[in-house]
């Protein structure tokens, strides 16, 4: 991945790498290469401390404008940061949902008070957020959600009742943003509101869900008359859908682009193990490795094309298809990793490198589900990218 980085700021990369080299040691040493997807529940307390360490070095929220405590770095440098971070084995970012999702949403839609109250603790690595969108009856069809919010006319507070599910990191977070139905009798995208709620309160119960790899990274979150303060609604009552969708748009994959470095690491590890156990001698395995390498290069250039499109209103075709492509690429890599391990893919050995490939095999199954399943991605690509007819809707 090195041949083409010349246009990136080499000095900046050195600075990032140097800082990480100095700080990701000592008590933080065990965090190296941990806490990534599939390993999200590893060392939560230590990772929170790590977030604060990053903040002290001013490495949190580097893309945010300076007025909100960020560094206002341009996208290419943000990507360079994510890459160096991955290269150094920086742990999965507990602060990601705050930094990448709710922070930018508040900057765009929040009140002055909300910005002052919520942005600084995100920058400082002191408050962590969860995303409360999906429900048991509303997954791909998010607009089918039923969790209700009602305003208490005397206090102005919102009272929330219902259930969210698959809520990543809720068990280690402080706050949750919730999309809830605030208008009696409303259906679909109408009548929804976007609320900010503290997770630690009597009306909320969090139950971790054990996932495919045995870890517990996501949760069910039950609301029983839980409270959101009157001033903690983002946008107006009934505007929730627009805010919720804008939030998904902000991310636009900047951190996803950084993850290509992690992908490259994983591919290197697959090759390393294949060499050790002899499967590298199989022509079919070699071709699959080459195919994977080719896809990785293509993704890198696809990212470069996307960069020139950032800030434009419509997602260009190369950006529309990116999630679909990388998630399938990554899932294929997981299968390749398991095939390279052969029978050993099934055996729990305690060897961290093999374990990493086993995790890759299992967890890459989530890539094609969260953040819009592949089928939903294809619907969007067909409709927005190719102008094909919209999906018919059944009666609710």
């Amino acid at each position: 991945m090195t041949a083409n980085d010349t246009t990136m700021d080499a000095g900046f990369r050195r600075e990032v790498a140097g800082w990480l080299n100095e700080h990701l040691t000592g008590r933080f040493e065990p965090l190296r290469f941990r806490g990534g997807p599939g390993d999200g529940d590893a060392f939560p307390d230590l990772r929170k401390e790590w977030e604060r360490e990053l903040a002290v070095g001013r490495w949190s929220c580097i893309g945010w404008p300076e007025e909100y405590g960020g560094r206002g770095l341009p996208v290419p440098l943000q990507i360079a940061f994510h890459e160096e971070y991955a290269r150094a084995g920086g742990p999965g970012r507990l602060g990601h949902i705050g930094e990448g999702l709710i922070g930018p949403t508040l900057m765009a839609f929040g009140t002055e008070r909300q910005k002052q109250r919520y942005l600084p603790p995100i920058v400082a690595g002191r408050e962590f957020w969860a995303q409360g969108y999906s429900e048991p009856g509303a997954g791909s069809d998010l607009a089918g959600l039923k969790t209700r919010a009602r305003r208490d006319p005397s206090t102005g507070q919102w009272r929330v009742t219902g259930q969210k599910v698959w809520t990543s990191l809720a068990h280690v977070s402080d706050w949750i943003f919730v999309l809830a139905r605030s208008e009696e009798g409303s259906v679909g995208r109408e009548g929804l509101s976007f609320l900010l709620m503290p997770l630690h309160q009597p009306g909320i119960e969090i139950r971790p869900i054990r996932q495919i790899n045995g870890g517990e990274e996501f949760n069910e979150v039950f609301f029983e008359g839980a409270v959101a303060e009157a001033e903690d609604i983002v946008g107006k009552p009934g505007d929730g859908w627009a805010v919720a969708m804008a939030l998904l748009g902000f991310e636009r994959g900047i951190s996803t682009l950084g993850q290509q470095m992690t992908f490259a690491h994983e591919l290197d590890l697959v090759v390393e193990i294949a060499r050790e156990n002899g499967s590298l001698r199989q022509p079919a395995i070699r071709r699959r490795i080459a195919q994977s390498w080719a896809g990785l290069r293509a993704m890198r250039y696809n990212a470069a094309r996307m960069l020139s499109g950032f800030g434009k209103a419509d997602l260009a075709r190369e950006a529309l298809g990116y999630k679909y492509y990388w998630s399938h690429w990554h899932r294929d890599l997981g299968k390749l990793a398991a095939d390279v391990l052969g029978v050993e893919a099934d055996v729990v050995t305690g060897d961290p490198r093999r374990e990493r490939l086993q995790q890759l095999f299992l967890f890459s199954r989530a890539d094609t589900i969260y953040g819009g399943t592949s089928e939903i991605q294809l619907n969007i690509i067909a409709e927005r990218g190719l102008g094909m007819p919209k999906e018919p809707r059944g009666k609710a």
Binding site: V271, A290, A294, G295, A304, L320, L386, P389
Partner: protein, 382 residues
């Protein structure tokens, strides 16, 4: 890496789209094929003499515009999309880079200005059109020997599949020189001992010829390669040709998809346009993703190749682009037939034109698997 187009490149692209939409495309290809010549002479003249596209890859000192691999890729993509039948690929993407990278100063002076001006149709006679030039570029010369004879040479061998071999005015023939080394020889169709047999091809957009050399006598000046450059130059020229071919394939894929989208938007079954069926939407979306990714790979590889910075790294990226583009082109053409239904199987409708070109181009200059093997040899040496 910046993959934005400059305003000049946007202009080239716009001009190419405008011109090729008007003058090339499936209907023009059918007319040219029926006329029997294989290509439309007037179209080729317009490309070479009016638009000046033949000058793109030629250095300025030889009358060219020295635009480089990136511009070439932009243009080649449009040509693939329009199923262009033209000696352009053989002349500009195959022969010109070979002279540029491996040629002697004299050879460049003799041939490049004529190529740049659109006055000379040239091609390269590889011993195997589907063969590979790694790890040793000499492989592409394996089928021809050059025996020193007086001041000149005698050439013997066979070039079974030479692109535009029956119409080219100049055939560049890589050969093994008896006594050591490889050389590229300039041969003209009139040379005695040369037999050119035009082949009937299933892909009518690109004619091939089977050429035999039986003791073809050439002078010393026919050895157009510089011995110091020939091995690396041959490899680099073929890499650039493979890149242009990959760009064409992205275009072929795009053309096949666009034609399919237009058809399925109109065709009604079960009371609705078949484009509204999710099974069909998803397959088209999948194609779009594959095409965009292949296009990204081509653009990135082309930028790197154009920079001339690291030909070895560029070579691998070209192989990546080629593998992805080959698959995308075939898949898009295959889906074009399927999603057209019965008419997709007819001569009258266009899908077969893309399908045949996709398969034929996929076999030229190393197949997808060859390119993957090349990557594997470097990324995961056993």
């Amino acid at each position: 890496m910046n993959l934005d187009l400059t305003s000049e490149q946007e202009m080239i692209r716009e001009a190419a789209v405008g011109f090729l939409t008007e003058r090339a495309g499936p209907a023009a290809l059918r007319r040219a094929a029926e006329a029997g010549s294989g290509y439309d002479r007037a179209l080729w003249d317009a490309i070479g003499r009016e638009l000046g596209w033949c000058a793109l890859a030629v250095p300025e000192e030889y009358g060219g515009m020295a635009m480089g691999a990136f511009d070439m890729a932009l243009l080649a993509e449009r040509m693939g999309q329009a199923l262009l039948a033209s000696p352009f690929f053989a002349t500009v993407c195959l022969a010109a880079p070979l002279l540029v990278h491996a040629g002697t100063a004299g050879a460049k002076e003799t041939y490049l200005p004529a190529i740049a001006a659109g006055e000379l149709e040239a091609t390269v006679g590889l011993s195997a059109l589907g063969g590979v030039w790694w790890p040793d570029a000499g492989a592409v010369a394996a089928g021809v020997t050059a025996r020193p004879d007086g001041a000149g040479f005698r050439l013997d061998g066979r070039l079974p599949h030479v692109p535009d071999g029956a119409t080219a005015g100049l055939i560049l023939v890589p050969a093994r020189i008896e006594g050591g080394g490889i050389g590229v020889f300039a041969v003209t169709p009139a040379a005695s001992g040369l037999t050119v047999r035009p082949l009937k091809t299933i892909d009518v957009s690109r004619p091939l010829a089977d050429i035999r050399l039986d003791g073809v006598a050439v002078g010393a000046e026919a050895l157009v390669s510089d011995p110091a450059l020939v091995a690396a130059g041959l490899a680099r020229a073929l890499d650039e040709a493979a890149l242009a071919l990959a760009a064409e394939q992205v275009g072929v894929a795009q053309g096949a998809l666009d034609g399919t989208l237009a058809y399925i938007a109109e065709r009604v079954q079960f009371g609705r346009a078949i484009a509204s069926f999710q099974a069909i939407k998803h397959r088209c979306a999948e194609l779009m993703v594959r095409i965009e990714v292949a296009r990204s790979a081509v653009m990135g590889a082309a930028r790197l190749a154009a920079s001339g910075e690291d030909p070895q790294a560029a070579a691998l990226e070209i192989s990546a682009a080629r593998a992805l583009a080959t698959d995308a082109a075939f898949l898009a053409a295959q889906e074009a037939i399927q999603l057209h239904g019965g008419v997709g199987f007819t001569w009258e409708y266009d899908p077969h034109l893309y399908f045949k070109r996709a398969q034929a181009s996929g076999a030229w200059l190393g197949g997808a698997d060859d390119h993957l093997d090349r990557i594997a040899a470097v990324v995961c040496p056993a």
